[in-house]
Amino acid sequence: MRIRLPERLSLIDLVLWALRIAIVVGVTAGTVATLAEGTLQATDWRDLLVYGIAQGSVYALLALGYTLVYGVLFMINFAHGDVFMAGAMTAFFVADYFGETGFMNANPIVALAVIFAVSMLTSMIVAIVLERIAYRPLRRAPRLVPLITAIGASLFIANSVRGLFGERIQSYPRVDILQGRIDVLGIPVLKTQALVIVSAIILMLALYYFVERTRTGRAMRAVSEDKDTASLMGIDVDRIIVTTFAIGGLLAGAAGILYALVFNQVHWFMGFLPGIKAFTAAVLGGIGNIAGAMLGGLSLGILESVGPYLLLSGFNVSSPNQLRDVVAFTVLVLVLVFRPNGILGASEGDK
């Protein structure tokens, strides 16, 4: 790529270039320093990488929800993280019941399937209700209005769950068959992490099939191209939008259970950070682009788990893991500033 300097270098351009140079220098110096010091073994890096992929799969599932909605409505569904939380919180009560009665370990496959179903359905219902009450009346309002509504809805859902279910941090019961590690191509992987990665892949393939091969999927793509024309072609735009929210909700519900299985804990505020990070992932991959959301999710997961150690431990920064969220948010800021169309995003123009 040839870099063309603009004819008049404005102050902003200068700031941006200074930022670019600072980043390149910082990243290189940090990486070299860390690798030269060699505090972490190759196996440590491998474990961080696997952890990052598992974490990234959850982000990818959530990012798909952002991307799908953005594709049809051009709005950021800020409350998507709370849709994810609502599913995981509701399914907790089912899981807890199964755990106490021993059903969880007697019939783990059935139990897990039921828990997944409950979480996915709850999230789907929350997403549909959200669309109907909060977003549909604002379909033609200026962009900031639905965004502010979404922020309000996010607070409202999170605090409703806090009020309804209590503010304790709840722990999911142990699932015996998910304890320990399995060997994948000679790499020992935690079983929960393997489950997360496999389920995410299955769900993403299913989504891909749905969007590319079914009639509804085709209608969805038509709506995201041009709502007015699609409606002239006999597509019920409202129904397609609801379907989009429903699918986003289903994926978020699944992500909620996967997250709960990895971290064991659910609480009413758990939607906020994963929500923003998943949005980052969606933007990183190119918002509105399904493959991009998957790629973005995985990249962000890996960056977040490997990044702090790789970049910061060389500078003797104490407890770099505390700064993992800073890495995620910095990635968000940098992507939006330097490449708002994302890795796979076609030039969207300024719609």
Binding site: L138, R143, L144, I151, S160, Q322, L323, D325
Partner: protein, 593 residues
């Protein structure tokens, strides 16, 4: 306009009843009813929880009896019937909840607030759930009917009645603050007449209700007369009337800490700090139309800068205090804080200015979180104190002020003292913002907010104006942070989370974007009221979220809209209504872009 058929009319009422029923169950299960069940409005007669539930049924009845814009109003009896029906349906939902709770199904493990106390409260302490359910249905039917009657009443009685009810609730809520103050001022008889226990006495509530109703009924015609008289005055006289009323309001504000005492002064200080934040964010969001969700970053930077520069424990603060003295350090530090603030604003603003509105919101949210995590992190602990924060920030103000104003001896302490500089800064900020809005800069912001590309083509340097907005917003945010730091005497990273940004946003949205009186009202309602309702603390964010959604759906221009903004809205109303008519649905009015 065609009248609705009877069955369509009743179906509509029943639908409203279902919505109200879901709302009643939600309020009960989310714990709001439980939180307010202890709180007396009228001692031994009416509790705040009852009032809240009753309000839902009354509103449902009111809405059910109000004919839609597109249809002619049915006869009065039908409207009354609709109100009663809506109330009955709503009551049936609560009744069903009571019956369900009486079955052996263990609902309390899931819905933690559905405890015995709540069930007893909802069933009016009736032993049998069937009796409780019947009572709920009957009572809600009556309340729905009351709502319908409100519709049928002429305007000049309806508003006063609603006001009077709110006034009774407000006076009773103020009990923990008013009563000790009255005792302090040796006005025990008044206190004893007004309050018994934690609520109003029956006599006092009747007096307050009648008084407010009478004043409000009388005020409506008087007000239009005053308006008419004012309108015929020459411009010069009108200005002097306005000036005088400003002075009067100003004097009242200045006297507030004297009248209200320590507790409420503390609340007012908090309102003032948030007002300062809101005035700053109002420039960024309301004037320039840039949705900044990381505004807390400026608040934090201001507080931490002040802390680092003046705390005697710090490496910078120690020499500063040694040179300038404990009280002087603040004044030396303040200009540095302001410069630092503007620089932070530019630093955050510069890279994000080319982003579209919604991306800008998320990026600034990211910045806010980065700031919070950095302040919290071990990595920067030597400078910023990590989790422990920074303590020992000297206040430039004396602890106590005693002086005599003629025969009255006045003694202020703590929050009563710091209230005055905060009011001063708020006033300064409000005047600057007001003057800016009407200036060339304000018009440039307006143009930019309405349509950035057109503004740029007509010669507005959008980059500079955006940077200016960011810098000014940052300045006010940091100022508020600095005052926050000296008021507390310490800063902790926990005070600076994303919820601060969202609270400030809610203040602006509630009051009206771009409207200074609106912002003041928003700060009073959203910061002041929750302090009066201590039980409410846990539900604050729930309500803020609800406020954001409801305002955007129902009244996007805010409670006290900016006049120009409202005009812009009404130009578009015709188009929208036409569209709504074609599409056969309600379309919300657009506000800022």
């Amino acid at each position: 306009m065609p009248a609705m058929t009877i069955s369509a009319w009743l179906r509509r009422a029943a639908r409203l009843g279902v919505v109200a029923g879901v709302a009643l169950i939600y309020l009960s299960l989310v714990g709001l009813v439980g939180a307010f069940e202890e709180r007396d409005v009228v001692t031994d007669v009416l509790k705040l929880g009852t009032l809240m539930l009753a309000a839902v049924a009354v509103i449902a009845g009111y809405r059910a009896a109000l004919p839609p814009k597109t249809a002619a109003a049915p006869p009065g009896v039908m409207r009354l019937a609709a109100g009663v029906l809506a109330g009955t349906v709503a009551g049936a939902f609560v009744g069903a909840l009571l019956l369900l709770a009486a079955t052996p199904i263990d609902l309390q493990t899931v819905f933690v607030r559905l405890n015995a106390a709540l069930i007893a409260f909802l069933s009016f302490d009736a032993e049998s759930p069937v009796v409780g359910a019947a009572l709920q249905i009957g009572l809600n039917a009556v309340l729905g009917g009351v709502g319908a009657v409100l519709v049928l009443l002429p305007d000049r009685f309806r508003r006063p009645l609603v006001f009077a009810t709110l006034a009774v609730a407000l006076v009773s809520m103020a009990e923990p603050y008013v009563r000790p103050r009255l005792d302090q001022l040796d006005m025990d008889p008044i206190a004893d007449f007004l309050y018994s226990g934690h609520g109003l006495t029956v006599a006092a509530s009747v007096v307050v209700f009648v008084l407010v109703t009478a004043v409000a009924v009388a005020w409506a015609p008087a007000r239009s007369q005053v308006d008419r008289r004012l309108a015929v005055l020459p411009a010069e006289r009108r200005r002097s009337v306005r000036f005088t009323s400003f002075i009067l309001i100003g004097l009242l504000v200045l006297a507030l800490p004297l009248i209200t005492g320590q507790f409420i002064s503390q609340v007012l200080v908090l309102v003032g700090l948030y007002l300062l934040l809101a005035l700053g964010l109002n420039i960024v969001v309301g004037y320039a139309g840039l949705l900044d969700l990381g505004y807390v970053a400026f608040f934090a930077v201001g507080a931490y800068l002040m802390a680092i520069l003046t705390s005697a424990d710090g490496p910078l603060g120690a020499p500063m205090v040694a040179i300038a003295g404990e009280q002087g350090a603040f004044f030396v530090a303040l200009p540095i804080v302001m410069v630092g603030a503007a620089l932070t604003g530019l630093m955050i603003g510069a890279p994000v200015l080319r982003l579209r509105g919604d991306y800008l919101a998320i990026v600034t949210l990211g910045f806010g979180e980065i700031a919070r995590i950095l302040f919290l992190s071990d990595a920067l602990e030597p400078w910023l104190g990590g989790v422990q924060g920074i303590i020992g920030i000297p206040s430039p103000l004396p602890q106590r002020v005693d002086f005599a104003l003629g025969p009255i001896e006045i003694s202020w302490s703590g929050p009563q003292v710091i209230f005055y500089p905060i009011v001063l800064f708020c006033l300064l900020a409000a005047v600057v913002a007001y003057r800016l809005a009407g200036s060339r800069v304000g018009r440039a912001w307006n143009a930019m907010r309405e349509d950035e590309e057109v503004a740029e083509i007509t010669g507005v340097n959008t980059v500079n104006y955006k940077l200016l907005a960011f810098a000014m917003g940052a300045g006010l945010g940091c100022l508020s942070g600095a005052l926050f730091a000296i008021q507390l005497g310490s800063v902790f990273p926990g005070s600076f989370n994303v919820l601060v940004s969202i609270t400030v946003l809610a203040i602006i949205i509630l009051g009206g974007m771009g409207s200074i009186p609106g912002v003041i009202l928003g700060a009073l309602v959203l910061i002041g009221l929750p302090e009066l309702l201590r039980e409410f603390a846990e539900y604050r964010l729930l309500v803020y979220g609800g406020v954001l959604v409801a305002m955007m759906l129902l009244r996007p221009e805010g409670l006290i809209p900016n006049r120009g903004r409202q005009r812009e809205l009404h130009e578009q109303d015709d188009e929208d209504e036409q569209y709504a008519h074609e599409a056969g649905e309600d379309v919300a009015k657009p506000v800022v872009a």
